[in-house]
């Protein structure tokens, strides 16, 4: 196990607690950003498959426990997005802010689409598409801040197998 993984898991759990207490209260047009998802994507971009999967699994479990329902769907969506973002890392320059923003935008939409595929009734929620788009946009301002935090994690060297 990489040295940075426990730190990743701990960070994701803290993010989930913040998501349920602070972030969820800061609403813009009735929506709020998804700190946990942003963290999963950026950890995967920085740390690779292992770190991405660990962050995704921890994030999914935490979201399920804090919501009290939908545990499997959260686990699958966050885990899948973590692995997919790690795949991007191989092709793109992971420290480029534009890449990170694009990854977060695409990751959020992909995550919500996958979640809707697992829970089709979600699509019937009024304004589903609008809400998904709004959430993706609201995640963008978190990217620089979360990126700074993630860059301080001892991930990169070990996950690259150097």
């Amino acid at each position: 196990m990489s040295r940075g993984l426990p730190a990743v898991v701990l960070l994701v759990l803290v993010a989930a607690l913040l998501q349920s207490t602070w972030v969820g209260r800061i609403q813009v047009v009735g929506e709020w950003p998804d700190l946990v998802l942003v963290l999963v994507i950026l950890v995967a971009l920085q740390g690779g498959h292992e770190a991405g999967a660990a962050a995704g699994v921890a994030g999914g479990l935490a979201m399920g426990w804090l919501t009290g329902v939908g545990g499997l769907a959260f686990l699958l969506t966050r885990g899948a997005v973590g692995l997919a973002a790690a795949e991007l890392r191989l092709h793109w320059h992971r420290e480029n802010l534009v890449v990170q923003v694009v990854a977060v935008l695409c990751g959020t939409v992909a995550c919500e689409l996958l979640f809707a595929a697992l829970n089709p009734s979600v699509i019937a929620v009024p304004g589903w598409a609008w809400r998904v788009a709004t959430r993706a946009l609201l995640n963008v301002p978190l990217v620089p801040l979360v990126s700074v935090v993630v860059s301080r994690l001892p991930l990169t060297t070990e996950s690259l197998g150097a």
């Binding site: 196990m1 989930a16 607690l17 913040l18 998501q19 349920s20 207490t21 602070w22 972030v23 969820g24 209260r25 800061i26 609403q27 813009v28 929506e31 709020w32 998804d34 946990v36 690779g48 498959h49 292992e50 999967a53 699994v57 999914g60 479990l61 935490a62 979201m63 399920g64 426990w65 804090l66 919501t67 009290g68 329902v69 939908g70 545990g71 499997l72 959260f74 686990l75 885990g79 191989l90 979640f115 829970n119 009734s121 979600v122 019937a124 929620v125 009024p126 304004g127 809400r131 959430r135 996950s159 690259l160 197998g161 150097a162």
Partner: protein
């Protein structure tokens, strides 16, 4: 450099972790299956609840400031609405005084005892569900406070939802407005009292109640309360669910769809009241 070539032992380690995660996530009960939280979730919530409570308290100021800024734009409209509500409230207060006097007279006449009021636990909302697709709340009362799955939860204004998972020191509340939330309800005014149905959430801000019959004289603004009629219901009758804000009649008069604005807004609830089961339910 080998980016994705984990060794066999590492692969097994990951397999075990993912399997355990799936098992833990799969143990999460669904809201329609009321019950205790799974042991892992119970432990996490019990440990995390004080942290959530502390974060929630400190976050209150930040959220309050944020809400103030965002609501500045809505203040004018809200003031007009509140003035209208005050006027309505004054008229209703006079009516209520009349009704109270009437009830007292009738009770005395029938020799009825005072209605047994249910015991309730007051609790603080320490967190809201982190996902927008499930409208749930975490409140700081659990098994230690005798909270049971299925208990009705009241917020400022009326019914908020139902407890669906109970941990030692906290419980999860499924809001009525969630797409999985529902409650047996009826229109309160006497002229439309036979309109009974299930008020369901749609994941947005409103509820829908469908009445499969020719619609009696339901009017906009009519109050809708719990009917307490469902099998095994833990909702006592008469709890305010919401008010009618939309009425759609099928052209053939075979059904009536009411849109309700919930009496209590889960997003604004800071404290809630959890109704404990009546003695006959508990036994």
């Amino acid at each position: 450099m080998n980016v994705r070539g984990p060794r066999s032992s590492r692969r097994w380690w990951w397999f075990a972790v993912v399997l355990a995660a799936f098992a833990l996530a799969g143990m999460e009960s669904r809201p329609e299956r009321l019950g205790p939280a799974n042991p892992a979730a119970d432990a996490v919530r019990t440990v995390g609840q004080p942290v959530q409570a502390a974060l929630s308290r400190t976050g209150g100021a930040v959220a309050g400031a944020w809400q103030f800024v965002t609501q500045l734009f809505d203040r004018g409209r809200e003031n007009a609405r509140l003035r209208q509500q005050v006027a309505q409230g004054q008229a209703q207060t006079e009516q209520v005084a009349e009704y109270q006097a009437e009830v007292a007279r009738l009770r005395a006449l029938l020799g009825l005892r005072e209605a047994v009021t249910r015991q309730a636990v007051s609790a603080r909302v320490v967190a809201k569900g982190p996902s927008p697709w499930f409208q749930t709340l975490t409140v700081n009362a659990g098994r230690r406070d005798r909270v049971v799955p299925g208990a009705a939860v009241l917020g400022p204004g009326g019914l908020i939802g139902q407890v669906f998972q109970v941990s030692y020191a906290s419980c999860q509340v499924l809001c009525l407005t969630d797409r999985l939330g529902s409650v047996g309800a009826r229109v309160q005014p006497e002229r439309a009292r036979q309109v009974v149905g299930v008020a369901k959430g749609d994941g947005g801000d409103l509820l829908t109640l469908v009445y499969h019959n020719a619609g009696p004289a339901v009017q906009m603004g009519d109050a809708v309360v719990t009917s307490g009629r469902e099998q095994g219901s833990r909702f006592p009758p008469g709890l305010l669910v919401g008010h009618v804000v939309g009425i759609v009649r099928r052209p053939d008069e075979s059904s009536l769809t009411l849109t309700l604005r919930p009496a209590a807004e889960p997003d604004r609830a800071e404290e809630v009241l959890i109704l404990l089961p009546a003695p006959e339910d508990a036994s």
